[in-house]
């Protein structure tokens, strides 16, 4: 079998039914231009707010979707906030954390009872800590792109997923989060900006498959907790 299968066959069938041959160069150029410009559709007005309002909307939507959120004044307060959360939830004082420099720089030594492992998550991990790339206020959504310092398993395997996010990384709409990815990332393999995996996460895992009754914690985390670091002076 031809390794790519029926590429020519499928494309020929499409063109035949559209009643034309391959696109002429000028039309293809227009389509390339549209890809380059990637125009936005209508952006819901709900997220067009001043910064403080946008952050409040983000927090309200996290809670609407059954997540929890705590705001801390600076990164140094994150280990304490996490230790407090784990104690409140009666969870073990142990977590697996992304090998992200901002997480590694946190003052973990001040919480010696909190056992912290760095790496990808394994099935035995109960609590995970991920570094959030961006937040989207429109629906309380976290953008978690994969990278060597942001493994995907940390979003999925533990029963309790904690995400640290800087308030300055909260945007209004999805399109603004894509723009952050477009401008900040260069991929060595493709030359583009897209990482292997981008998860948009809105609340903890759930299912309504049993009699349309909502239950949390289907296969992914049962709890999603966001620690928002208030580093955004415009929002103060």
């Amino acid at each position: 079998m031809n390794p790519s299968g029926d590429r020519a066959l499928v494309l020929a069938a499409i063109r035949r039914n559209l009643g034309r041959g391959p696109l002429p160069a000028d039309q293809a150029a227009l389509l390339h231009a549209r890809l380059g410009a990637h125009p936005r559709g209508p952006i819901p007005a709900r997220s067009r707010l001043p910064r403080a309002g946008q952050l409040a909307l983000f927090a309200a939507n996290i809670e609407k979707e059954f997540g929890t959120i705590v705001r801390v004044a600076d990164p140094a307060a994150v280990p304490e906030a996490i230790a407090d959360y784990l104690a409140q939830q009666n969870l073990p004082s142990a977590l697996v954390m992304s090998p992200h420099p901002e997480l590694a720089a946190l003052p973990w030594a001040e919480r010696p009872l909190l056992r912290v492992r760095t790496g990808r998550a394994e099935a035995s991990d109960v609590v995970s800590l991920q570094h959030g790339f961006a937040g989207v206020a429109e629906t309380g959504t976290l953008m978690l792109p994969s990278a060597p310092d942001r493994p995907t398993t940390l979003n999925l395997l533990a029963e309790t997923a904690i995400v640290m996010l800087r308030a300055s990384r909260v945007v209004g709409a999805y399109e603004e989060a894509w723009d952050l990815l477009r401008t900040e990332r260069r991929d060595a393999l493709t030359g583009g900006f897209m990482p292997r995996n981008v998860m948009l996460v809105t609340g903890p895992s759930r299912s309504a498959d049993i009699e349309q009754s909502l239950e949390l914690g289907a296969h992914g985390p049962r709890r999603l907790h966001v620690v928002l670091v208030d580093d955004d002076e415009a929002a103060a």
Partner: protein, 474 residues
């Protein structure tokens, strides 16, 4: 899956008499309808998004060859492999080939309607590979060896006691005397059982809600996270996608995503919306080592340039079936194949042939609710009518219906005879039904009166009354 669509009428009768199914329908209908209405009401831009969504899909379909090639080049650039498949059989072979090369024994699966369409589970089983459905609803119907009854709530037709019975039968490693006190206990058991499968799987198969040309990405949308575990943990990820899933850019996908969850479950956004682009990159600590997309045509390209092209805009949200009075009465299994409800009534004849699926476009009252809630504004009733025309042209319509249509047409072309006949009928029925105003039995209308009374006419026709009132008005 062998279609039972030719037996729709028999299936529907059985469904109406199925008390468990009727209980499930009564529970499910208001659930979906109310949640969608609330989500749409909370987003003033919903209509503008629908309009834009339709434009995006129309633009993509008009240039589908260009966008498919762009997408495929970008998949290759990210280290992935595209397998172009003209038919369902090609797609099955492609999946099996990848599984064999990976030495796969257990394959986990995220929810995929294309996988139902090509019958991949039976095929893998026949070839010694064990497929495990991981979406909770798909898992329970796999345990019961039955097809999904809904495209986003595949097990809505089951009640709690069905779940418990199937779990007791399947999970023999657990104590037989365990008690399921609440629904959560059922969920927890499934989580534990399936977690072992996620970790043991050699290959993970998911569907795709969208393919994105500019990045070469595939997108899945789930609430459980099962799709993400399926595609993250095994060493090989296979995406099953059909050609009409394509959109040009991430911004275009964002428009459609704002429509999808609201139209489907009434959520503002699904819990996990995940964009996958190729296999594990240098330095990554997790993710699959291989990324394949099995790209399926299976009759879709033949819809381009026809009166059915608009159907290719469908984003599989299920709003049409959630609001359909026929689906709401008989559920999804009666339709007899993979895609039920109004979208299935249009799509199924394309995929399995109008000769087998002729009942489906006829299972409609043409009330138009499906079109009014469709986020992609697909003219579903008009397309069902096109199928009825084709059915009639090809002489597939049953003899009895054909003869009566012929009789009606004879009168309809002769206005004088038509008025005379209808006046006589209205007068006679009006006299006969004078006392109760309705008929409990009526010769030639037994199919109607078996289920409900037929209201009696008032003795005169609309034409006669219109003529009289016009005279009076003058």
């Amino acid at each position: 899956m062998l279609p039972t669509s030719p037996a729709f009428k028999k299936n529907a009768r059985a469904a109406l008499a199925d008390a468990g199914l009727q209980r499930a329908l009564e529970r499910t209908k208001p659930h979906f309808q109310q949640r969608r209405a609330a989500a749409v009401a909370a987003l003033p831009e919903f209509e503008a998004l629908r309009e834009r969504g339709r434009e995006i899909k129309n633009h993509t379909l008009a240039n589908l060859d260009f966008y498919l090639e762009t997408w495929a080049d970008n998949v290759a650039r990210a280290g992935g492999e595209v397998h172009w498949c003209a038919t369902a059989s090609d797609a099955r072979e492609a999946v099996l080939g990848i599984c064999r090369r990976a030495g796969a024994r257990i394959v986990t699966k995220g929810k995929s309607m294309v996988s139902e369409e090509i019958g991949i589970n039976e095929f893998l089983e026949a070839n010694g590979i064990t497929p495990v459905e991981t979406d909770l609803g798909e898992y329970i119907i796999q345990l019961g060896h039955e097809p999904p009854s809904h495209i986003i709530a595949p097990a809505f037709h089951l009640n709690r006691e069905d779940w418990e019975a199937r779990f007791r039968k399947a999970h023999t490693d657990l104590p037989a005397d365990r008690v399921f006190r609440e629904r959560r206990d059922i969920l927890t058991e499934a989580r534990g059982e399936l977690r072992q499968r996620f970790l043991a799987a050699d290959v993970g198969i998911t569907g795709a809600n969208f393919l994105i040309a500019e990045t070469g990405s595939s997108v899945i949308v789930t609430n459980e996270g099962n799709g993400d575990l399926t595609q993250t943990l095994p060493k090989v990820h296979i995406v099953l996608a059909s050609i009409e899933k394509l959109v040009p850019t991430l911004e275009d996908a964002s428009v459609l995503l704002r429509l999808l969850a609201r139209s489907a479950t009434g959520q503002d956004f699904s819990v996990y919306t995940t964009f996958s682009t190729g296999p594990r990159r240098a330095g990554d600590l997790d993710g699959p080592e291989q990324y394949h997309v099995v790209l399926l045509d299976n009759g879709r390209s033949a819809m381009l340039g026809t009166e059915f092209q608009d159907m290719l805009r469908c984003i599989r949200c299920a709003a049409c079936m959630n609001h359909c009075p026929v689906y709401g009465a008989v559920g999804g299994h009666a339709y007899g194949w993979v895609y039920p409800g109004p979208m299935g009534a249009v799509l199924t004849p394309t995929l399995i042939g109008i000769d087998k699926a002729a009942n489906l476009p006829n299972a409609s009252t043409f009330c138009g609710r499906c079109e009014s809630v469709c986020p992609m504004k697909i003219p579903l009733p008009a397309m069902m009518r096109h199928w009825r025309e084709r059915e009639f042209e090809r002489h597939l319509t049953p003899h009895f219906a054909r003869r009566n249509l012929g009789l009606w047409a004879w009168f309809a072309r002769r206005p004088a005879a038509y008025r005379l006949a209808t006046r006589a009928a209205a007068l006679a029925l009006g006299l006969l039904g004078r006392r109760s105003g309705r008929f409990r039995h009526l010769p030639l209308a037994g199919a109607w009166t078996r289920g409900r009374d037929l209201p009696a006419p008032e003795g005169q026709t609309f034409f006669a009354r219109y003529a009289r009132e016009s005279r009076k008005a003058r």
